[in-house]
């Protein structure tokens, strides 16, 4: 029996959301492109100016470097967490998953604020270090690259852990057992079986984190230093400070092209699925 809805019902049910998406999602995207080209003038000068602008080059480089650094740190910690979770019994795993998911639901502002208390010169970490090693110069962990990377790590970890974990759990345990029978040690099993088989999950997590990191706005604004401005902050700077909407729009378009390319790769890795979680 065919359970499919008739086409006219489908159209009727989809119409309201589609209208709102067209007016308030596609049209805004169009406004950005339109503005970046100076409206009907179709003048590409903003893009040409950006290509020669030292500020833009610096911010673009910073954005890509921070994105890659944050993703790599997240990969190392995220893989360790996913491995740890995968080895637990389902009951224990459910409990530990709360540790991963709770920060996911915590406002990024709350987390940034908490970091300023913990990582500041007189913060918990520096006082603990002073207590153990005696009074020294406090370690600068805020308003510099370290602050941005720690903030991003906290934000990105769930996006890395979840795809790797689901990949590890889907692996057939018979493979590891077979390797063990053939005389492979645990390290060899990990390097030759677990790790290579988990690469799709890793790639999926890496691309998701890279795309999120490159588009970040709050973390660099609140935890980064003056020299670590990222593309998203530059968009805001041109929108609010200099009111140069074509420049803001052109940077937004460039940011969209970069993250769009990463997401396109991601959907290929995930076989046409782009769901976040």
């Amino acid at each position: 029996m065919n359970h499919a809805l008739e086409t006219r019902f489908v159209a009727l049910l989809l119409a309201p959301l589609m209208v709102v998406m067209l007016l308030f999602f596609l049209l805004p995207a169009g406004s950005i492109i339109w503005t970046s080209l100076h409206g009907a003038k179709l003048d590409p000068s903003t893009y040409l100016d950006l290509l020669t602008s030292a500020l833009f080059h610096k911010v673009l480089t910073t954005t890509l470097v921070i994105g890659i650094q944050a993703t790599l740190v997240t990969l190392v910690v995220g893989y360790a967490i996913a491995m740890h979770l995968a080895r637990l019994s389902p009951r224990h795993r459910a409990v530990m998953m709360i540790f991963v998911m709770l920060p996911f639901w915590t406002s990024i502002l709350v987390k940034s604020f908490a970091f300023t208390i913990v990582l500041g010169d007189a913060g918990l970490v520096n006082r603990a270090i002073a207590f153990v090693f005696g009074n020294k110069e406090p370690i600068q962990m805020l308003f510099n690259r370290t602050g941005v990377l720690l903030g991003m790590l906290n934000f990105l970890l769930p996006f890395m852990v979840l795809p790797i974990l689901s990949n590890l759990m889907a692996q057939d345990p018979a493979l590891a057992r077979a390797a063990q029978t053939m005389g492979a040690g645990p390290l060899r099993i990990f390097l030759r079986i677990t790790l290579p088989l988990s690469l799709p999950g890793v790639l999926s997590g890496v691309l998701m984190c890279l795309s999120l990191a490159i588009g970040s706005y709050i973390t660099p604004a609140l935890l980064g230093g003056r020299t670590d401005m990222m593309l998203a902050n530059l968009v805001d700077f041109y929108t609010r400070q200099t009111l140069d909407w074509p420049a803001a729009s052109a940077i937004a378009v460039i940011l969209l092209v970069i993250t769009g390319t990463i997401v396109a790769l991601l959907t290929r890795v995930r076989g046409g699925q782009a769901e976040v979680l």
């Binding site: 359970h3 499919a4 809805l5 019902f9 489908v10 049910l13 989809l14 959301l17 589609m18 709102v20 998406m21 308030f24 999602f25 805004p28 995207a29 406004s31 950005i32 503005t35 910690v77 360790a80 967490i81 491995m83 740890h84 540790f99 998911m101 709770l102 920060p103 639901w105 915590t106 406002s107 502002l109 709350v110 604020f113 908490a114 970091f115 208390i117 913990v118 918990l124 906290n154 970890l157 040690g185 645990p186 390290l187 795309s211 588009g215 706005y217 709050i218 968009v235 805001d236 929108t239 937004a252 940011l255 969209l256 993250t259 769009g260 959907t267 046409g272 782009a274 769901e275 976040v276």
Partner: protein, 268 residues
């Protein structure tokens, strides 16, 4: 030889375990310290607190610009959640039960707001809403939030729909029920949990949304996260500790509710 392998293995396992536990601690740390800090009551924020006091909460409720922003966030989150449910639930039903050309492409399109950097969306809303002359109104915030949360509702409702047997709907149709009646009496009761999950997600994301709101809100329509963001940037007011503690409790309640709902076999 064998002993050597064992020792390296044990070393790597211990290292992995250590990194994992450091990771858990790092993830939990912001949530764990915020409530004690807010109960400190003193104007210089420290952890651990020296004495207990509710002074910062009193300061929050004494300042209309703070609790007004909280009420504004509540209003916007409720309105966007309701609007999104009305738009996204029928769409999810059509996507799961319909069989038409371009369904996958359409699904991807409906997911795309999650994948676009929020700052790009924010700028787009800003330019577009000015053209429509709704910039700085509550409507602008509700529409912006609706675009951002609709994908989450579509995903959770679609997941719920995929778990239930479409034959029940066909039977109801054959027995003469109208499409609307089938939807409300056969489908909705079966996907109740997914609807609640979708609504909770939508509400929390809207309540916490900062970047898009920052571009769209006017001083008169400022939401709590926007006010908090400005406060964090320009003058770290101790009231932020109280706000953070309340937001943390809110997220905690929502996570527990979501975990409880997802435990049921029908959740995803």
């Amino acid at each position: 030889m064998n002993e050597l392998v064992d020792r390296t293995t044990r070393f790597w396992r211990a290292t992995g375990g250590f990194v994992a536990w450091a990771g858990y601690l790092f993830l939990l740390m912001p949530t764990l310290i915020i409530i004690p800090v807010s109960l400190n009551g003193s104007q210089n924020l420290t952890f651990p607190p020296e004495r207990l006091s509710l002074a910062l909460f009193a300061q929050f409720f004494a300042d209309p610009s703070w609790w007004g922003a909280a009420l504004q966030s509540l209003k916007i989150a409720v309105a966007s959640t309701l609007l999104t449910l009305a738009l996204a639930v029928p769409a999810a039903y059509a996507l799961v039960r319909g069989d038409f050309f371009g369904r996958r492409a359409l699904n991807l399109f409906l997911m795309s707001p999650i994948l676009v950097p929020v700052v790009v969306l924010g700028l787009g809303f800003y330019l577009n809403f000015n053209t429509f002359r709704i910039g700085g109104t509550d409507l602008a915030l509700v529409l912006a939030h609706t675009i951002l949360i609709a994908p989450f509702v579509v995903v959770s409702v679609s997941a719920g729909l995929r778990q239930i047997d479409p034959a029940l709907e066909s039977v109801a149709i054959i027995m003469g029920a109208s499409r609307a009646r089938v939807f409300f009496q056969v489908v909705v009761p079966q996907i109740k949990d997914s609807l609640v999950v979708g609504a909770l997600l939508a509400f929390l994301i809207s309540f916490d949304e900062v970047v898009a709101s920052y571009f769209v809100a006017a001083p008169a329509t400022t939401t709590l996260p926007v006010k908090m963001y400005s406060a964090l940037r320009w003058e770290i007011s101790p009231v932020i500790a109280a706000v953070s503690a309340m937001l943390t409790v809110l997220s905690l309640v929502f996570s527990i509710a979501l975990i409880a709902l997802r435990k049921s076999p029908r959740g995803h």
